[in-house]
Point group: C2
Chain length 378, copies 2
């Protein structure tokens, strides 16, 4: 196992997508040095820094000092933190502020923040002047290992999450692993669910490594850089095979069909359930459902849930404060999920740890029976 030390040169993960290929740089000090990096790669461009009030207050000054030092014209655009920011009204506001700052098509929208900022700012970058430059500077673990990679951008509507958006690849991703030191433990854990997901999808050795080394990932340093790089490489490989999710990119949705339903059932109230916690419970449910269907050993379902529990993640409906309503409510939430194709239900199921697969035409009756059991465990 080769792992970079925390003060090495950044680890570089290429995302191969023809003329839309780009690099993910993972390492320390990348926020401070971003001005220099951008000046070298994009000479003469202005930068609109989109951030949320939390992240902006902590990290924007260091970024802006670097941009100013490199002679880059820049403008900060601040949105409120939280999932509710991913909506039409905020999109319009960000778009308007980008235009008010007289940004041209060749200029750059830079997302400094978690997945909410990345999804919103990326969508704005995709549509202002039908496509501006775009750089992701993810500051949450979830954003570094998942949302900043692969080009999905978008907002929510009252009909569901991420129902409106664009596939829009960034030109560069700068993942500063130091930035995660200011993230709350709860948010770090939520991102860790996605890290574990890559092991559960198709990399049992990585899952084993996480079981041994998860403390290092939480602490920072070389183990954290390693875990993020492995995760980005895994996601980049899937995205390179299937950019617009017509095929096996859907594997990345392990835990997400159940997870999204739970987010919907809790009204997207982050105080009750954040996205990564929904994914953690959703993955545990995907494994329990697979075990119930006789696809996967019950031991594997227990083992993966045990690791999630060890790091402090929820794995059961009982772990959600305030409950999630009855089975009808959950079924409706699943029926509205974007991954429904022409009436049939699609789930990511597993034959074991690191052996996930796309199951199309899952019988809704079996799902209902499983969820009824799950609710009975509360």
């Amino acid at each position: 196992m080769t792992a970079a030390t925390a003060d090495d040169a950044p680890t570089q993960v290429p995302v191969i997508l023809g003329d839309r290929s780009y690099d993910i740089l993972i390492g320390t000090g990348l926020i401070e040095s971003a001005g220099e990096t951008i000046a070298a790669r994009y000479p003469g461009r202005a930068v609109a820094v989109v951030t949320d009030a939390h992240v902006g207050a902590i990290h924007a000054e260091a970024l802006e000092a670097g941009l100013a030092g490199a002679g880059i014209r820049h403008q900060r655009i601040t949105v409120p933190p939280g999932e509710a920011t991913k909506r039409f009204a905020m999109l319009e506001q960000v778009v308007d502020e980008i235009l008010a700052a007289r940004m041209e098509r060749g200029d750059i929208v830079l997302a400094l923040g978690g997945g909410v900022v990345g999804d919103l700012a990326g969508f704005a970058a995709a549509i202002v002047r039908r496509g501006m430059g775009f750089i992701q500077m993810p500051t949450s673990l979830l954003a570094q290992v998942d949302s900043s990679v692969g080009g999905k951008t978008g907002i929510n509507t009252r009909h569901g999450k991420n129902l409106v958006g664009a596939f829009y690849q960034p030109g560069l991703v700068l993942a500063d692993t130091d930035a995660l030191d200011t993230l709350s433990t709860r948010e770090f854990r939520a991102g860790y669910a996605e890290v574990a997901k890559y092991g559960l999808i198709d990399d049992p050795a990585f899952f084993g490594w996480l079981e041994q080394n998860w403390r290092g990932v939480f602490q920072g340093g070389r183990d954290r850089v390693h875990a993020i790089a492995v995760s980005c490489r895994a996601k980049a490989a899937v995205v390179a095979r299937d950019e617009t999710e017509t095929g096996d990119r859907a594997l990345l949705n392990l835990g997400h069909t159940f997870g999204h339903a739970l987010e919907s059932a809790t009204g997207y109230d982050g105080s009750r359930l954040v996205h990564g916690e929904g994914v953690a419970i959703g993955m545990a449910q995907a494994f329990r459902f697979s075990a119930k269907l006789g696809l996967c050993a019950a031991d594997d379902a227990a083992r993966m849930a045990a690791h999630l529990t060890t790091v402090g993640l929820p794995t059961e409906l009982a772990h959600i404060p305030g409950g999630v309503g009855d089975v009808d409510r959950l079924m409706t939430a699943i029926g509205q999920d974007k991954k429904v194709s022409r009436g049939a239900l699609t789930f990511i199921l597993a034959r074991g740890i690191g052996q996930s697969f796309i199951a199309r035409d899952v019988d809704p009756v079996a799902v209902r029976a499983f969820l009824t059991e799950e609710l009975a465990r509360i």
Copy 2:
């Protein structure tokens, strides 16, 4: 000159864009037969028909009868007519109605209307579920020869026209030339400005044909189908060379930098100036400006203006009721135009009829002097 008769099979113009290639069908009766056409090309898909209140009242029933006859589930979504419909609030409403109708990613957004409906509905199709199926059914002359071809979609903001949008190609364009019979003469003329534009850009023979045969184009029948097909072919060729307007697609903007400034200066008030009228004046100005710069013979500028006048189009600022303000206002409007690149002004100028070219770095001082002269002609 081979010209289809009005009751021939539709003329087919292919738009060659790799895996996003599609056909434009031009002819009569295409609204009635659309259900059959769509059922054959897109079996099993539902259709959201986006239209405006004018066009919907006249043409939607015939379309819907055909959809119903072909067993296609469909839902009409009606927006108010007029340029003001191309705004965020209406985009959100259309998106919401598409989702409320439970349209999935494989289903189809069909734009039945002029350029306003096409641009708005196309943008909605591009972003709902990150891209649904999309069919253009243009009902104005402008939409048939220009806006429905080439994949530009979008809305306006208070900072300017079409500043937000997507490049999103339709899967099919059905241009029913009969539909134009219900268009007002004023709107037909406005679209004719774009037809003439293709002659002025690089097809002097077509411009000569129009000088001889424009009455036939206005009347309908074979000359109309011919003029629309020549126009679509011309636009398709430019778009195939330069899909995202990084190069010579900009030629299509002949008359548009001045034209957009005039639309802005008249507050996008269609009672004073519709888009095609702005383009007509803008093209006449581009030729007069070219003549003033010594690039083009004054005779050519006079000849093209004479033809526009013959068909009833405006060619002078004096033709705009209510005036357009002073030179500062026009210069500001031009400075905000999207076709400004990093501070320098880009115009489409001409060396003669059918000899247009992209002039980058046009001196703003020369533009100001020219516009001051133009204002003095009022």
